[in-house]
């Protein structure tokens, strides 16, 4: 499957973006501590029905980006700048109650840990119906068969019984399916998935990813996939944004990015994925160091200390994100040679 077409009603190219994030900057300002910029001028677009990946290590700002768009960052202790325009409305400046109206209806989100993300003392069914009651003005009674239908659709066996079950009675995969059912209950136009498979077993991961892919294709929902796992991106995303230290360092369509990664960080991420088709005994190459080694973006490339091919400029000047005509973008002074 390629990045474009294959879905019904996908006249995507040339569409207005569904979500357009511009210069998103999130700064945590905690009392008695230096302000910390977690997201530093991130811009990207999501077109209707498209799947966009945000990829990076933990601490790169990908989750904060999604929470900022959803308006779910804690009320105090942070500053959010920039815009996130969704169907013509800037979500970041939207009044609280207006945003409440949109969450769950227009934009939904699923989270990393399905157990802790479900309310332990409320039955699964109720946690689905409450979304329908809220956004579709359904009565609880009317919402119950719909919830049953949803559970069935996300592949939960015996949905009638599961409606009254509590989260602890479900397996990890089932819980994530239930969360997906809640998120998709009102047929949102955008779904943000924040590491939806990280807490699951490998076999379950594949199932959940397959399910997500199927559902968004079926319903034409746009998907923002947040992950540290390029493997997840490979099977799912049309476009991939690689984040490092709160900034996008490389962007490209999936097959182009995988075929010829240009940023040393992207190549590093790719090299650290174990491959079944790789030569036996070929060592995995981890990226040396950690995010703690980052340089400040203001006057250097944050990745320079961990980079495999730094040049002098990298520690003296801040690289800009350079766009080319083909929709690729790169923030690097000494990119890896293009292979094709």
């Amino acid at each position: 499957m390629t990045a474009t077409a294959t879905t019904p009603g996908s006249s995507r190219h040339g569409d207005e973006p569904l979500l357009s994030v511009r210069d998103l900057r999130v700064t945590f300002t905690r009392q008695g501590e230096d302000p910390f910029t977690a997201v530093d001028g991130v811009s990207f677009d999501v077109r209707p029905g498209q799947t966009v990946g945000l990829v990076g290590e933990s601490g790169c700002g990908k989750s904060v980006t999604s929470l900022a768009i959803m308006g779910l960052l804690p009320a105090r202790g942070n500053r959010v700048e920039g815009t996130a325009t969704f169907e013509g409305t800037d979500l970041l400046t939207l009044a609280k109650d207006k945003m409440r109206d949109r969450r769950g209806r227009d934009i939904a989100m699923i989270f990393q840990d399905p157990l802790s993300s479900l309310n332990p003392v409320v039955p699964i069914g109720r946690q689905v119906t409450e979304v329908l009651e809220r956004h579709k003005s359904m009565s609880r009674k009317a919402a119950t068969p719909v919830a049953r239908e949803l559970l069935d659709r996300v592949g939960i066996p015996d949905p009638d019984r599961r409606l009254t079950d509590y989260p602890h009675q479900l397996s990890g995969g089932m819980r994530q399916r239930a969360l997906i059912a809640m998120a998709l209950a009102c047929e949102p136009r955008l779904l943000i998935a924040d590491e939806p498979t990280t807490a699951l077993d490998v076999t379950i991961q594949a199932q959940i990813l397959g399910l997500l892919k199927e559902l968004v294709t079926e319903s034409g929902t746009a998907l923002v996939m947040i992950t540290h796992d390029l493997g997840v991106v490979a099977g799912l995303c049309d476009e991939v944004n690689v984040l490092y230290g709160g900034r996008i360092v490389e962007r490209g369509r999936r097959h182009e990015l995988f075929a010829s990664p240009r940023h040393p960080y992207t190549t590093g991420l790719l090299a650290s994925i174990p491959r079944l088709d790789g030569a036996r005994g070929a060592p995995l190459t981890p990226i040396p160091g950690s995010v703690a080694d980052n340089l400040p973006w203001e006057h250097a490339c944050a990745f320079a200390p961990r980079c495999s091919q730094p040049v002098d400029r990298c520690t003296e000047q801040s690289p800009e994100l350079e766009h080319d005509d083909g929709g690729r973008a790169l923030r690097c002074f000494n990119p890896v040679e293009a292979t094709s």
Binding site: R30, G32, F36, A38, S58, G59, S290, V291, A292
Partner: protein, 328 residues
């Protein structure tokens, strides 16, 4: 959480506190992996870092410090002998049983003409003794039982914990009253024992719980895997990590003992010998005069409240500092 018997809830609270010890390491590791990595900062060091900046802790520590210093030097700075009936001639049962403030006696005297200020000052000594020894006795008893249960396991564990459970099934103050009532000749020591006995089952549960929680924690498993002897695992790896909740509980017990000792005096179960004053005893003794001369009760009560508050503030901020959940 599988509650095990009728008193589970109270036990669970103790166990919850105990479990924080076990989770410290894991949380510290988790945290080290997240955004702001501060390698090499141990739990105690980081707790201390946070305590130093906590006004709550500093106020509590300041009160405690003043109290301890006062207890040490009060005999030297007290204007009069706290046991001497200096103003006895002013005590007239009909008209004025309590001598009021006068030159040399800024707070007046008590019902038998002893200088109130001196008694309050020197009273800090016995009060501290009650608090400290009740805590030490309670801690020692509880630790012995807890380690016994934790180390031997099996039927020793079952037996010890059943006894502990039964003791916990009596409201603690009532238990203290009952034990104090056993004393043929009530004295400061019997008060201390009664107040301490109440804490024994609490400490025992706390310690056993936190050691159990650690039995399966990674650092203990790692120590075992490295071939460290069982004894060393218990004393070098499990016990030190259980100390956090125990220290917190001790600080709170210091406050509780002083307050409980006052309640014993109030019921006539306290130390009848008041030549060496103690605040709880002074408060208990002031009952008959409380309407006409409330100051006799108010001064020792205020002292108790302030000191108990000091210990509590210290204990609460310690708990917060040692709790990995609240660490940010």
């Amino acid at each position: 959480m599988t509650p095990a018997n009728p008193m589970t809830r109270r036990k669970d609270r103790i166990d919850d506190l105990a479990a924080t010890a076990g989770s410290d390491r894991a949380a510290a590791v988790r945290e080290a992996g997240s955004v702001d990595e501060k390698p090499g900062v141990s739990l105690i060091a980081s707790a201390w870092q946070r305590l130093r900046r906590s006004p709550v802790f500093l106020i509590g520590a300041a009160i405690t410090l003043v109290f301890v210093v006062l207890a040490l030097v009060s005999p030297l700075i007290a204007p009069h002998d706290p046991a001497a009936n200096l103003l006895l001639d002013q005590v007239r049962p009909q008209s004025n049983p309590i001598p009021g403030p006068q030159p040399g006696y800024p707070l007046g005297a008590d019902d038998v003409g002893r200088d109130l200020l001196s008694r309050l000052l020197v009273g800090s000594q016995q009060t501290l003794i009650v608090g400290v020894f009740a805590t030490i006795f309670g801690l020692t008893g509880g630790m012995t039982l807890g380690i016994l249960a934790g180390a031997f396991g099996g039927w020793v564990d079952s037996l010890v914990m059943r006894i502990v459970d039964v003791l916990l099934s009596i409201p603690s103050l009532l238990l203290a009253f009952s034990i104090a009532a056993l004393a043929t000749r009530p004295s400061q020591l019997t008060v201390i024992i009664a107040v301490a006995a109440v804490q024994v089952p609490i400490f025992a549960r706390l310690l056993r719980g936190s050691m159990l929680a650690q039995r399966h924690s990674d650092h203990v498993l790692a120590a075992r895997a490295l071939g460290v002897t069982e004894r060393a695992v218990v004393f070098r790896h499990m016990l030190p990590n259980s100390l956090g909740p125990v220290i917190v509980q001790s600080t709170l017990v210091l406050a509780v003992s002083i307050i409980d000792a006052a309640a014993l005096s109030f019921l006539g179960l306290g130390n009848p010998n008041d030549r060496q004053p103690e605040w709880g005893q002074m408060l208990g003794r002031a009952q008959p005069f409380i309407y006409d001369n409330p100051h006799l009760a108010v001064y020792p009560a205020l002292c108790i409240i302030v000191v108990a508050l000091g210990f509590t503030l210290m204990g609460e901020s310690l708990r917060e500092a040692l709790d990995p959940k609240t660490r940010r």
